[in-house]
Amino acid sequence: MRKSILKIIVAAFVAFFLTGPVALAKILAIKGGTVHTLGKKGILSKAIILIENGKIKAVGQNVTIPNGAEVIDAAGKTIVPGFMHSSSRLGLSEISLTKDSNEHNAKKTPFTAAFDVRYGLKSNSVVIADNRRHGLTHAITQPSLADSVFYGSGAVISLTGGADMYVGKGPMVASFAKTLNRNVAWATMRLILDQVRYYDQNRSDIMEGEGPGDFLLTTFNMDALVPVIKGRQKLVLTVDSEDNLRQAIALKRDYGLDLILNSAVEAWKVADELAAAEIPVIINPQENLPEKFGKLAATFRNAAMLDTAGVQFAISPGGMAANHNAFMVNHMAGLAVAHGLSWERALEAITISPARIFGIDKFFGSIEKGKIANIALWDGDPLEVTSNTVHVIVNGVNHPLVSRRTLLRDRYLNLNKKPYAYH
């Protein structure tokens, strides 16, 4: 997966630079402030960051700003990598309860594993623009449902607001319907993987009609799972209970999958086993209610206890905060700090950790030379609920902090100046 993503990213960038905005040669410099690089240079004060052609050209205290560069004065600001959401619906839904702005659900179609969200992405999305102004700069966006345990492939996106938002193919996404008996669920999952393996090894015979004809998935859906069984595409599986988490650990062992577990509300109960199996998890730190029988042991301290056990994890809220309020990743990271996680680790959990988990840390997750320039400047602690962004840079572009929502706000803040519709 790493290689295929790399190729796609390179291709995407070549395409972007051949066709994209012209002012590319211009250098953007961020001067001063405290830079949390999330890289080898650690925390730098009064540093300079140079950005050129959408990438970080230099970071350090001894960097010289070239003549003609556009300079952002960051004195007194906190500079961090743009935040990442690891399980979003961004670009796939403008308004949840509308029929014509939702592109994430493959239910009642022939597509399950072969569903791929890349074709339905909306670039000029008001949801993306609003999340960007809050400091979110890139994400995994993914399918929500299909008529199988496999929902299809997600995408890595950058919150550019333009045609260059698609960065590369994301993970395969799988989940068990709420009502699915767990025995049926795991048998289905294993049987499909067995069948895909068999199908992959005997494809020509099967195509000639010489194999069994009763596969659970159609051949085109099995084709989409071949990279998964070969460990070349990551599989994100949503599971919560300690027993399901143990089954997932066994699944990885038995099939050699590159597995990521999502939600993982009871992960703290099997933290050592997850660490030993080197399975990363994506968690939502606000989960502390026994919403269902698989979540009885939900606790605010999940993140802190996973960290203590050495499990690699990312923080990524779900529900409302998977799309319109996806920017709440920092609030949720702060919540984890309030319940025992270190501040540093919480910041990592929404920047470099998810980039590593999804194998895109060559491009995202830290402020280091050569990485895509996704950077946010904050007026205070970026995990604090009272802090706000002052600049957000995506793919090297310093975006104005404007969205449809700020325009609405401004229109009604100034009602006494003009009738509302003339702003």
């Binding site: 308004i95 949801v127 502390n288 026994p290 606790t299 309030a338």
Partner: protein, 474 residues
């Protein structure tokens, strides 16, 4: 900046006065001896049996105190005795034997009041068996009472107290035009619903605008449009007006000495009549500005009062009108876009409403959000400051306790650290407008019902017993 609402005052004194008025009126008349007995609708058939938990006289010293009435006091003390606030300030006279809590570095506030919760009626775990919040079988179900769905064992209550919530209003859902009565409860462990009910709190009535009734009933006989929503409410109020007329006429005639038969009792119309009589407060789920104004006009048409618009994501568009009409808005800090009528939500809604001197409230409508209402207020507060709406922390805290108390008609009893009020008090580890601060101690009527440092005070409902360690969720 705050209003005293006549309707709510009337509502609060009504309970005490109702029986007395009727009794004296009858006695005074020179009535025929053998006429039918006077029929009176029992307005409180499921009375609160709440009793404050035992408390000791307690003083919290040298803390930063947000009084809830707008001020921030430094190095101040709060003295609680017999379940009441007896003094707030510096250099208090402390009775001998008072339990002293060192508040150095801590912040003290009134208990948070959530005006919009479904705890108990949509309890955890989320199963059909516990899904008791929407009687989505008819668009007008003014006859149902949320308190008859509340499961006191909902594990959500024990989470909410760790977030500093001491009082909450539990509402029916928003499927219906008129969804039924709400109940205001104290957030205490209780075997019974009645044991949680806030003594003397008036009932609320849930109404809903917009998309939800349309969506639920569009293919089940309607309403399927917003205009039919309005027609549905108006038809209900017309019936209620007639019903009230019958009862008023009956009472008048009986008191004049006539031998008259009482009208037959109708549960649905009892509740609507309660609104027209000013005893029951309207809590109206409504997102869009235009619909809120229609609802206000309808309230004028039928001569009742709307306490609060809930969700109210477009209140910022009509904040001046809401201020003039004295209607509160209960809002999220930043939720938006999950449906078209929520598409225009802005992060500054709450401070913009407050800035117009309308009554602003932070609400949750969510079992997770209820645990961090202080943080939601903090986001709204900071977003307001960013655009020049410079409220102090003290002012912003009114969105969490005093304004909700006004919306529920209980501001004379709780909602601020004022002498004589219930000692519903939270000690925070630090500034409550920070994500890192936690509620450390929560007092309800002066009783220490939650102490983060003392596992003996972690409550656990029956459902979780034997499945989880007590307090493991925090």
């Amino acid at each position: 900046m705050f209003r005293i609402d006549k309707a709510m005052v009337v509502a609060t004194i009504f309970w005490a006065a109702a029986a007395l008025i009727t009794a004296t009126a009858i006695a005074a008349e020179d009535a025929p001896k053998d006429r039918q007995p006077f029929v009176e609708i029992n307005k409180n058939p499921y009375p609160s049996t709440y009793e404050p938990y035992p408390s000791v006289t307690t003083v919290i010293n040298n803390a930063t105190v947000l009084t809830g009435a707008g001020e921030q006091l430094e190095g101040a003390s709060v003295l609680m005795e017999n379940g009441k606030i007896v003094a707030v300030g510096s250099e208090l006279e402390i009775p001998y034997g008072t339990l002293v809590i060192d508040g150095t570095g801590k912040w003290v506030t009134p208990g948070i009041i959530d005006v919009h919760s479904h705890l108990g009626v949509y309890a955890s775990p989320h199963h059909q068996s516990l899904s008791d919040g929407n009687e989505a079988t008819s668009p007008v179900t003014a006859d149902v009472w949320a308190e008859h769905s509340i499961w006191p064992q909902d594990p959500g209550f024990s989470r909410a107290i760790a977030g500093g919530v001491t009082t909450l209003q539990i509402l029916p859902g928003s499927a219906n035009l008129i969804g039924g009565r709400s109940a205001t409860v104290k957030n205490v462990p209780s075997r019974t619903r009645e044991g949680m009910k806030f003594p003397g709190a008036p009932y609320g009535l849930k109404m809903a605008c917009g998309e939800n009734p349309k969506r639920v009933y569009g293919k089940k006989g309607g309403p399927s449009t917003r205009m039919a929503n309005m027609a549905g409410y108006r038809k209900a109020w017309i019936k209620a007006r007639d019903y009230k007329g019958k009862w008023d006429s009956y009472t008048r005639k009986y008191q004049a000495g006539e031998d008259v038969s009482a009208p037959s009792q109708d549960l649905e119309l009892d509740t609507l009549m309660g609104v027209l009589n000013g005893e029951i407060l309207i809590h109206n789920h409504c997102y869009r500005a235009d619909e809120m104004v229609s609802m206000i006009n309808m309230a004028h048409e039928f001569n009742y009062k709307i306490s609060t618009f809930h969700h109210a994501v477009e209140s910022y568009k009509i904040a001046d009108i809401l201020a003039k009409e004295k209607v509160c808005s209960a809002m999220w800090s930043d939720w938006w876009g999950f449906k078209l009528e929520a598409f225009d939500g802005v992060d500054e809604n709450i401070p913009m409403v407050a800035s117009a001197k309308a009554c602003a409230i932070v609400h949750s409508d969510d079992p997770n959000g209820i645990q961090r209402l202080n943080q939601e207020a903090a986001k709204a507060w900071a977003d307001g400051r960013k655009v020049g709406l410079n409220f102090t922390r003290g002012e912003a805290f009114t969105w969490l306790a005093l304004n909700p108390a006004k919306a529920l008609g209980i501001a004379d009893k709780t909602g601020s650290l004022e002498v004589g009020k219930m000692a519903d008090v939270v000690i925070w580890s630090g500034d409550p407008f920070s994500v890192y601060s936690l509620a450390e101690k929560v007092f309800i009527d002066g009783a220490l019902l939650y102490d983060r440092a003392d596992p003996d005070t972690y409550w656990q409902g029956d459902f979780e017993l034997g499945q989880n360690a007590r307090g493991a969720h925090q």
